[in-house]
């Protein structure tokens, strides 16, 4: 209820934020981090084991060679297998929603870790993933509800995909033999790209203060027309929803506060991050992570350029220009730093050379995406 952004205004005026890296003794590296959840739906259960790294050497340190099992309160066990270093996975587990489940981890150094038994949550379907447009941005939101009033605590993740183009089409290509027309497929590969992004903020909402279990228009992502090329052509977002238990939700919220909501004037003290996992062989071992049982529901929507206001959407090629290159100088295309757009034509129709632009402007995959069309597109 205490907004972190109160002070935004004053901060914008007088405050300043400088990058700052104090010397810190990173005594906290090597702590086991357990991420994932026991999937109560049809999908696989994925558990990721990593170790904390020093602050001055940020990296993901996987924890390979562990034995990971899902256990029910009545003693049923399901073993996960390591699919890649630190990634442990099992296909669909037959879950009895009347039981409680936990995970048991035995790391390669012989320590046993056990999460608390948690109840099974069943995630209700997403009602809508929609968007509201404004003059300079659009906001994507999610709405959901649970008629059983059993969900209350929700979390979302999303994966974004969007199509964008290069500066312009390249109709000719350089060959040692000379300049030749480029075939359409080749030109399209240079011109059409798809970029991907996934949510990095923890997105949480709760209906605990409401009279019915309803989440109405929870904002997931805000997309500016003018600072990103997401809306250049067509945009898609896959929203994944899970339902949490109350203590799981509170743990996530604390993690969010500790890592995403600092920097205001009324900061709360960051606190030690724990979770619901303990080391049963050595209680002084810290563990980070909360393992609960839930199912995942997803929903994808598409937004086309035509569905947003008619504005000049950011392309990423604002600084690209087309140069004219004399026919005689065509050898400059040999090293590939410039690509040919088309023939340069004077008013009146006389061809005087080639129109060309830089490689960075002409090859879309150099702008963070790939030219491979995703299967759902």
């Amino acid at each position: 209820m205490k907004a972190k952004i109160w002070f935004l205004i004053l901060i914008l005026f007088w405050a300043c934020k400088d990058k700052y890296t104090p010397h810190i003794n990173s005594s906290g590296s090597g702590i086991l981090v357990v991420e994932g959840f026991i999937n109560t739906g049809n999908g696989p259960t994925n558990i990721l084991l990593t170790r904390t790294a020093p602050l001055n050497d940020v990296s993901t340190i996987p924890e390979p060679g562990a034995q990971v099992e899902v256990e029910s309160e009545h003693g049923a066990r399901f073993s996960l297998s390591e699919t890649s270093a630190g990634n442990y996975s099992i296909d669909r587990i037959p879950i009895d929603s009347n039981q409680k489940y936990r995970i048991h981890i035995k790391t390669s150094n012989g320590l046993d870790y056990l999460s608390a038994l948690t109840e099974v949550k069943i995630t209700p379907p997403i009602d809508t993933v929609g968007y509201d447009t404004a003059s300079d941005h659009l906001t994507i939101y999610v709405s959901t509800h649970d008629n059983r009033n059993k969900s209350e605590y929700y979390e979302w993740y999303y994966q974004e995909t969007w199509k964008y183009f290069a500066f312009t089409l390249s109709n000719f290509k350089y060959t040692p033999a000379g300049i030749e027309p480029r075939d359409t497929k080749d030109a399209d590969t240079l011109y059409n790209c798809w970029a991907y992004n996934q949510s990095t903020d923890i997105l949480l909402a709760s209906s605990e203060n409401l009279s019915s279990d309803v989440i109405y228009k929870f904002p997931l992502q805000t997309i500016s027309y003018f600072t990103t090329n997401r809306l250049r052509d067509r945009y898609s977002i896959l929203v994944k929803q899970i339902v949490l238990t109350k203590d799981w939700y509170e743990w996530k919220q604390q993690l969010k506060k500790n890592t995403e909501q600092l920097g205001s004037i009324f900061d709360a003290q960051p606190s030690e991050t724990g979770g619901n996992i303990v080391c049963t062989t050595d209680s002084s071992q810290r563990v980070i992570g909360f393992i609960g049982c839930t199912s995942e529901i997803d929903k994808r929507i598409f937004i086309s350029r035509s569905q947003i206001p008619d504005v000049a959407v950011f392309t990423g090629y604002e600084s690209c220009i087309a140069d004219t290159v004399d026919f005689g100088s065509y050898s400059i295309f040999a090293n590939g730093s410039e690509l040919i757009i088309n023939l340069a034509v004077r008013p009146g129709g006389a061809e005087v050379g080639y129109l060309a632009s830089s490689r960075e402007c002409m090859i879309c995959s150099l702008h963070g995406g790939t030219s491979v069309k995703p299967s759902f597109w």
Binding site: I9, W14, D18, N209, L210, P270
Partner: protein, 923 residues
């Protein structure tokens, strides 16, 4: 019996008076008169025309009296006896045919000044009035330095070697009482200070003395007295027309040596006004931060941490009203209008027994009384705020008012923001009204009304509003010269609300409020020259609404939720004696006994005594009815201090104090915020308790123009609230499960050098201090820093402040301010891990690191218009730069996950030089 202003000063206008001529009129002085519903003037005119008597009287005292009688050829005494039969009026006939008419008082005509002191047409007559109930007391208004004033009657049967002089110190021009004036004799070394009402009482040996009187902004003066017995003397002081001449606390000259109090910082508004602060408007709380032992967690906060106490441990009193939130704009400005403030006193060590209820300090802010003689005003325009103040008499010399308001127009700043913040709005105002009324010489009434309101909304999404409302009425009654009482009643309120309506389904309003009504009776009794007593009682009823959550609008599904309101009664009796053992050795011993009752109706969770308080451990819920006594806490609080003066300019003081606090702020943010929740002590949350030992050395140099002091202290605190990780403080029906009991200890040494007068004045203060906390709750369930001591958020070991003012001439002065302190402790991450597609930081020990040290230099110039006394408008400019070197001082250092990666930042609140200009005009 004392007399107040109006009764004492008789001003007579008479023209063509000539005793020689009138003596011929009626040799027998017999009078014949018939009056029917006649006013006093008619009676006087008749008598004066028939005889050579001349009347002196204050016509305003007789305005309701009508005469109906008839006499024929009777002497004056018969006529006057007839006229004033069954009234409270008295008369006295002087040796030169003067007739004095008074109400309730007899006049001793033999002590009158002789007529040769009366010169010119308008004559001021000093009359010494003898009280019919206490014939040994007389009052005079002593206005002349070279006149010897006789006080008391030399009677043989009064064997006491000492006599008491009492009276008021006032401003001759406005009639306003002057608080904190020093009245002292050089030999022997005896001194007192006038109280808030300008009242003083000084006991001296009989005989001839020279009284020195000094006060802020007033010319130093002295009075010669010949003391024969107890008596009264009011002292009118002349203002310093050249205000800049003597701006700093000259009244405090030597008072640091003489007073028994320690750790008391007193400042007047003129001192406050010359310290440069951000945005240029005199800011009381920011100036307090330049004093040793007073800190805050950062520039955005006016929450004071006094000698290692938390920001909720300060009792902030504005004319007896408790101000729960003394700041505007979330802490950027203090909520006190500088035009109304008269003096500020901060008690950080020896706290007088009449105060209680907070652990660390008492900040006593006294407002001005309005001008009793003429209408005056003040207006100021600054970058962010403007203010207007108006004052004047309602009934001249009796009743006056002062009305002042401030408001902001910061919205123009907000309009400069990027378009997404265009709809943001911020505003605040505060209003003060003080009325003081003199009922008669023994009774005064003071009314104080204060309100402040802040509103803020960011882009029309969530709106925050908070405000104070305070009303108090004080009656001052003098029982005798030596004994007076104050009876104060009032109502204080602080409330805030947060409204969010952007999402119609979630639209809500959250509100919090704390109300308190109080009654205080304080008695001051000057028992003898050795003993000066203070005693009294006070009672405070809390009515606290911890939180109400309600839907806004029809589509809202928000479920109303209200945390049950709390009520409690906090009462105390106290007695304190200032015992002057010898003039050099003075001890002040006080005891305060406070009783706190947590009252129903309430439902209280019951927990086992030997297990953590968690929701799983709730044994039962006990329900109490209205006004049931649920839990009573009580205990004595000791207030001891002693001073030994080795010489006129060197003394040592020591003190010991204990305090109890029954109301707590629930806040897990570093800076105290306007939306913090206050919580009363209940069966599950014990009151805070603290004690402090301190010792101080005070030495004045260069004829008392330079004061130096060293104070050391050690204090401990118990039952301070801390919070579990992830504690929920809002709308929590079982807050005791989220809090942890913490003990604290604080110690330090404070040095101060202050030069009060001269072209160059100001102070240098340095403090080394530590504040550490330790979790003391065996059943808390989690251990902060393994249960070891860790530094508190506001632990800043080294702090140095220099405040310097240089007066170039009477119209121009400049000030320089320098501040340095060690960075406050902060919790920094010890490792990083990847979770939910982002690198994130992990934390361990609390407050193991510190933000970078803080340096700041400010500069300001004060330019006054001309000082012509009779000019209608006086204006002045204040121009300056806050943080003139643009230092990027850290407010906080933090790590945050942004787009999947961890970034470290240093946040500075005022990261550049901030110029300011203020224009003031008084009329």
């Amino acid at each position: 019996m004392r007399f107040s202003v109006g009764c004492l000063l008789f001003i007579f206008f008479f023209s063509g008076y000539s005793p020689e001529l009138q003596a011929q009129k009626n040799a027998q002085n017999l009078i014949t008169v018939t009056l029917h519903d006649a006013p006093i003037q008619e009676l006087v005119e008749e008598i004066e025309s028939q005889t050579d008597y001349f009347f002196y009287y204050d016509i305003s005292l007789f305005d309701s009296l009508k005469f109906n009688f008839s006499v024929s050829r009777e002497p004056l005494s018969t006529v006057l006896n007839r006229a004033f039969a069954d009234t409270k009026f008295n008369y006295a006939i002087g040796s030169q045919n003067e007739v004095f008419l008074t109400k309730e008082a007899l006049i001793q005509t033999n002590l009158l000044a002789t007529p040769d002191t009366l010169k010119g047409k308008h004559r001021t007559y000093h009359v010494e009035i003898e009280d019919d109930q206490n014939p040994n007391t007389k009052t005079q208004i002593a206005t002349l330095e070279n006149k010897l004033y006789q006080i008391g009657i030399n009677t043989a049967n009064n064997g006491s070697p000492n006599a008491l002089i009492t009276g008021y110190v006032r401003d001759a021009k406005t009639g306003e009482s002057i608080a904190g004036a020093s009245i002292y004799t050089d030999k022997p070394r005896i001194g007192v200070a006038s109280d808030q009402y300008g009242y003083y009482a000084i006991s001296l040996s009989k005989g001839r003395h020279i009284l020195n009187i000094q006060s802020i902004g007033m010319k130093d003066t002295r009075r010669q007295v010949l003391l024969s017995g107890d008596g009264k003397m009011n002292i009118d002081l002349q203002g310093q027309v050249m205000m800049l001449k003597n701006v700093i606390v000259s009244a405090e000259k030597m008072s640091n040596i003489r007073s028994v109090d320690m750790g008391v910082q007193k400042m007047d508004i003129k001192t406050l006004k010359q310290v440069p602060v951000v945005f240029g408007e005199a800011d009381l709380l920011r100036v307090l931060l330049t004093l040793p032992g007073v800190k805050s967690v950062g520039e955005a906060s006016t929450g004071l941490n006094v000698r290692g106490g938390s920001a909720d441990q300060n009792l902030i009193l504005f004319n007896d009203a408790t101000i729960y939130n003394p700041s505007h704009f979330f802490g950027f400005f203090s909520a006190f209008n500088p035009d109304v403030v008269k003096t500020v006193e901060l008690y950080k060590s020896s706290i007088p027994a009449r105060y209680g209820g907070r652990l660390s300090s008492v900040l006593d802010i006294t407002s001005r009384e309005g001008n009793k003689k003429e209408f005056k005003g003040n207006a100021g325009i600054g970058l962010v705020t403007s203010r207007l103040e108006f004052e004047g008499p309602i009934v001249k010399d009796k009743t006056s008012f002062i009305l002042a308001g401030r408001t902001t127009y910061a919205n123009w700043l907000l309009n400069l923001l990027p378009p997404e913040y265009k709809l943001s709005r911020a505003s605040f105002y505060d209003l003060n009204l003080n009325v003081s009324h003199q009922i008669n010489k023994n009774n005064n009434l003071y009314l104080t009304a204060y309100t402040s309101k802040d509103n803020f909304n960011l882009n029309s999404d969530t709106t925050y509003g908070y405000g104070n409302l305070n009303l108090s009425l004080k009656w001052k009654h003098s029982f005798s010269d030596k004994f007076y009482g104050l009876f104060i009643t009032g109502y204080d309120q602080y409330k805030y609300d947060i409204t969010s309506t952007q999402n119609p389904v979630n639209a809500y309003k959250f509100s919090f409020g704390v109300n308190q009504s109080y009654f205080k009776a304080e008695f001051y009794y000057f028992l003898s020259s050795k003993h000066s007593l203070e005693f009294g009682l006070n009672s405070l009823y809390y009515d606290l609404h911890p939180g109400t959550y309600e839907p806004v609008g029809k589509p809202s599904l928000a479920v109303p939720d209200t945390v049950q309101k709390e009520q409690a009664l906090e009462s105390a009796v106290y007695l304190s004696d200032k015992f002057t053992i010898t003039p050099a050795f003075v001890v002040e011993a006080g005891i305060r006994f406070s009783v706190y009752n947590y009252l129903g109706p309430q439902s209280v969770n019951q927990y086992p005594s030997n297990a953590p308080k968690t929701t799983d451990n709730i044994l039962s819920v006990k329900t109490y009815g209205s006004n049931d006594f649920i839990k009573t806490y009580s205990g004595p609080e000791y207030r001891l201090s002693a001073r030994y003066a080795f010489s006129d300019n060197f003394s040592i003081k020591a003190s010991y104090n204990t305090e109890q606090q029954y109301i707590h702020v629930l806040s897990n943010t570093t800076a105290i915020s306007p939306t913090d929740i206050w919580k009363l002590s209940d069966p599950n949350i014990a009151p805070e308790w603290g004690n402090q030992y301190s010792l101080g050395f005070y030495k004045n140099l260069k004829n008392n123009t330079i004061e130096t002091s060293v104070e050391v202290y050690y204090k401990t605190m118990q039952h301070i609230l801390d919070y579990k990780s992830g504690a929920v403080l809002v709308l929590n029906h079982h807050i005791e499960t989220d809090v942890i009991n913490t003990n604290g200890r604080a110690y330090g040494v404070e040095f101060m050098i202050r030069k009060a007068t001269g072209k160059l004045n100001g102070w240098i203060s340095y403090a080394y201090s530590r504040t550490e906390l330790k979790q003391a709750d065996p059943y808390a369930g989690e251990l902060i820093n393994e249960g070891q001591y860790y530094p508190a958020n506001y632990d800043q070991p080294n702090a140095l402040t220099i405040v310097a003012n240089y007066r170039v001439n009477h119209r121009f002065s400049f000030s320089l301010n320098f501040a340095y302190n060690t960075g406050r402790p902060i919790t920094l991450p010890i490792g990083v891990f990847r979770y939910d597609s982002s690198y994130r930081t992990s934390y361990s020990d609390r407050n193991a690191y510190r933000i970078p040290d803080y340096y700041r230099t400010d500069f300001s110039m004060n330019i006054d218009g001309n000082h012509k006394v009779h000019q209608k408008f006086h204006n002045s400019w204040t121009i300056g730069v806050y943080n003139m070197f643009g230092t990027h001082n850290a407010y906080s250092v933090y790590y945050i996950s942004e787009n999947g990666v961890v970034n470290g930042y240093k946040l500075s609140i005022f990261g550049s030089a901030i110029p300011f200009v203020n224009f003031n005009v008084s009329f």
